[in-house]
């Protein structure tokens, strides 16, 4: 293995190939520790669960490759309706509320062609599924995750696009994964159910670097919370960037409260937390 290519390996480890190693690594990085610890716990194979009252229910986690190197995940946990479930892929995590139907769906990016996803359920069990995503190797990703406060939002300014324009990809203007198949731009996925106490939310920008049909730079910014209650709270997030020449390891980021009132800079942008994407297209 080349030195410096630990990142992709870590991604694979976290995806559940070697649960013990995952646990050891993730325990040390406590923000990511819980699911990995659950992974390494005595085997909890997808199986019938008998809740305290009511009929037994089947647990299942399905994965299906979608456009733009995404994976559509379907979690069936009818007896855990109303409970949170955290889906993890590599170092990426997002928590969803299982709705009354018992079926939660989410679209995730794929960081590897053999992509593994886990769902960590409220009863302590962890489900594992995999999907083959042949196009995943050609994508670069920039992600932000947070489990309290407003976190950091991800902004991509494609090929010199000014703020608010068509090429400014962000949660408010995310594009669809299918749009990236043309190789002209990326898309953003906002993951996780808002408002879950302690739950992970994430934003991931993905660009089809290998299939790009345009050359230039995609500048990356991380947006500070704008207004609201967030102004008085320190910001904590985990950033992650995957791509050629990058270590691919998560970085925990903290910064003082953006501030409220006259001194506040609502909507401020942190520009240097991730590397700009240098795109060499055909």
């Amino acid at each position: 293995m080349r030195p410096g290519s630990l990142g992709p390996l870590l991604g694979v480890l976290l995806a559940g190939v070697l649960p013990a190693a995952v646990a050891a690594w993730a325990e040390a990085h406590d923000g990511l520790g819980r699911a990995a610890a659950a992974l390494a716990a005595p085997a909890a194979a997808p199986a019938a669960v008998r809740p305290a009252a009511g009929p037994p229910c089947a647990l299942a986690l399905g994965a299906e490759a979608g456009p733009g190197a995404t994976v559509r995940l379907r979690l069936e946990a009818p007896c855990l309706a109303g409970q949170p479930a955290t889906i993890r892929h590599g170092a990426l995590a997002a928590t969803y509320l299982v709705p009354a139907s018992g079926i939660a769906e989410a679209v995730f990016p794929a960081f590897a062609t053999d992509a593994a996803y886990t769902a960590e359920l409220a009863d302590g069990r962890t489900l594992l599924t995999r999907a083959a995503v042949p196009g995943a190797a050609g994508y670069e990703h920039v992600a932000s995750m947070w489990s309290r406060g407003a976190g950091l939002s991800v902004h991509a300014f494609e090929f010199g696009a000014p703020p608010g324009s068509e090429g400014h990809v962000r949660a408010e203007a995310p594009r669809s994964p299918a749009a990236s198949d043309g190789g002209l731009g990326g898309y953003l996925l906002a993951l996780g159910t808002p408002g879950l106490a302690g739950g992970w939310r994430a934003e991931v920008y993905s660009f089809p670097a290998a299939a790009a049909r345009r050359s230039g730079t995609v500048r990356i910014g991380f947006g500070l919370p704008a207004g609201g209650e967030a102004c008085a709270a320190p910001v904590e997030a985990v950033t992650l960037q995957l791509g050629e020449g990058l270590p691919g390891a998560p970085v925990r980021v903290s910064l003082p409260a953006p501030g409220c009132g006259a001194a506040a800079r609502p909507g401020g942008m942190l520009k240097n937390l991730a590397r700009d994407l240098k795109i060499a297209g055909d």
């Binding site: 040390a28 990085h29 925990r252 590397r275 240098k278």
Partner: protein, 534 residues
């Protein structure tokens, strides 16, 4: 009572001016040798996880912690030592390049990384081991090269980030303050290269610019694109960085000050180099000087001179500093011992993994590249155009024969006007080349140190000075590379004076690009190791 007996094993004596430290009484400690042979009392100045620094009646001493017991309230807990490293200086280096390298260094060692952002000018990295123990806190202060070196001199930083070589005055201040000789190779290292580039929008028709015209445009003297090879009658809209940014000051010192000019007040100011590039890229009438690492969608104009030669800020030309506006990114260290994690980080900077990180961050790395003669058509064309006068056809033919089958390495040595001593970047080149020779990279090759001069003065004198410089560069590398084995490369010095100019000789910058020693390598067949081998 203070006693000192002979116990050289525990003493790595490093006498220098005591550093200021707070609350003297609280810092008093007693160090006793484990074999009972030595007791030292004094004020604890620091602990790096391996060594105590203590101010005693004998001066400042550095004592190996493994050999002594520490008694006193100020004694650190050896098991929970956290290395504290402060890195201060040029924002151009600290904003993107250094964080990328710290994060890659941590990832390679399986360390967890937390980045606590203080404000726009500072952040702290905390590196944690797999067991959760905090290994190091690395504090960054982003200011300017001057302030970084001042912090190093004042012992307020452990490493200084500099986007230029330390000035003789700064080196002298450092020596007075007891932090050693900043210009010494052991205390300075080039981490990467950036370059200042004249940026225009992709659809701006201007093709090249001379440094003189660039300076006059930046000053507001040339206001029409027609004067700059663009659309006549269209105004030049200037963009620049904020006046207090170190990069902006260095651009003005490099381009404007020598011509006695200053930046036009009409220039639109931006927060950083990327913002200048983005603004320029969006406006076909815009012109700005920015950093190559931040160029984004803007286009860099090649520099030219009166003779028409082009110098492009591409990777090869920046690495060899053939492009004249290169900004080498230096790290300066004090003469004292740094914590182990800081030393490990400095070693990491020379690895291939670090070079990949440097490239990904948009900078030019230090990796050695080879360029065959056949890929240097533009240079040869320049040489043919410049021939005549004192350079005859036979001179060019001789040069091409001498370099046949050889490849130019990116290591290039440059000299100040009239001087024979290497500059700081060149010393770094000499060290990297000698390390490659010692590692056997060039076994079975010959290495040619090929001296060239500018065209000022007589051809004979230029041939002489270019030979002296080639021999100087060769001697520097030979001294560093140590004893040579049988299969080690033969080193030879060649000189061609003014025969192969890279830039026009009609300006100071052009002449300084031309005064150089290039390094070429050529495999030597085992059977014929004679110097005349083709």
């Amino acid at each position: 009572m203070r006693r000192l007996r002979t116990c050289a094993a525990v003493l790595a004596a490093l006498f220098s001016a005591p550093l200021a430290a707070g609350s003297a009484a609280a810092q008093e400690v007693t160090l006793s040798a484990r074999d009972g042979g030595l007791t030292l009392e004094g004020r604890l100045l620091g602990f790096d996880g391996e060594f105590y620094r203590i101010d005693t009646v004998y001066g400042e001493l550095t004592v190996d912690a493994a050999g002594v017991l520490c008694q006193g309230a100020a004694c650190p807990d050896l098991g929970s030592f956290v290395a504290e490293v402060t890195i201060s200086g040029a924002a151009a280096m600290g904003e993107v390049l250094m964080p990328a390298l710290i994060e890659a260094f941590a990832a390679q060692r399986g360390l967890g990384v937390t980045r606590a952002i203080r404000d726009a000018l500072g952040f702290t990295y905390t590196l944690t081991e797999a067991g959760g123990r905090t290994l190091a806190r690395i504090d960054f202060r982003l200011t300017t090269t001057e302030e970084g070196i001042a912090d190093l001199v004042a012992a307020e930083a452990d490493l200084a980030m500099a986007s230029r070589e330390a000035s003789p005055a700064e080196v002298a201040l450092g020596r007075e303050a007891g932090i050693g000789t900043l210009s010494a190779p052991s205390q300075s290292r080039v981490v990467a290269f950036d370059a200042y580039v004249a940026a225009v929008a992709p659809d701006n028709p201007a093709a090249v610019i001379t440094p003189e015209a660039l300076a006059r445009a930046l000053s507001g003297e040339l206001r029409d694109w027609g004067d700059l090879g663009g659309a006549a009658g269209e105004p030049v809209r200037l963009h620049a960085m904020a006046a207090d940014l170190g990069v902006q000051r260095e651009i003005e010192a490099l381009l404007l000050a020598p011509a006695g000019l200053s930046l036009s007040p009409a220039a639109i100011r931006h927060a950083d180099a990327a913002a200048v590039a983005d603004a320029v890229a969006a406006d076909p009438l815009a012109l700005g000087v920015t950093l190559a690492s931040a160029l984004g969608g803007a286009r860099a104009l090649p520099l030219t001179g009166g003779c028409g030669f082009l110098l492009r800020p591409d990777e090869a030309a920046v690495r060899s500093e053939d492009y004249p506006l290169v900004a080498p990114m230096f790290l300066y260290a004090p003469a004292r011992r740094l914590p182990a994690v800081a030393r490990d980080f400095l070693s990491f900077l020379a690895t291939p993994a670090a070079q990949r990180v440097i490239r990904r961050a948009g900078f030019t790395d230090l990796g050695t590249r080879r360029l065959p003669l056949s890929a240097q058509g533009e240079r040869l064309a320049n040489a043919i155009l410049a021939a005549g006068g004192e350079t005859a056809l036979e001179d060019l033919q001789g040069m091409v024969r001498a370099l046949a089958g050889a490849e130019r390495l990116s290591h290039t040595f440059r000299f100040r006007p009239g001087a024979a001593g290497l500059d700081a970047s060149s010393r770094g080149s000499a060290i990297r080349l000698s390390e490659a020779i010692e590692a056997g990279v060039y076994d079975g090759h010959e290495i040619l140190f090929v001296g060239f001069s500018d065209g000022e003065g007589s051809a004979a004198a230029n041939l002489r000075i270019s030979r002296i410089r080639a021999e100087t560069a060769m001697a520097a590398v030979r001294a560093l590379a140590g004893a040579a084995g049988d299969d080690r490369p033969a080193l030879r010095a060649l000189a061609f004076g003014e025969a192969l100019p890279m830039a026009c000789d009609d300006s100071d910058w052009g002449r300084s690009v031309n005064r150089r020693v290039e390094v070429w390598v050529r495999p030597v067949p085992r059977t014929s190791r004679s110097p005349a081998a083709p």
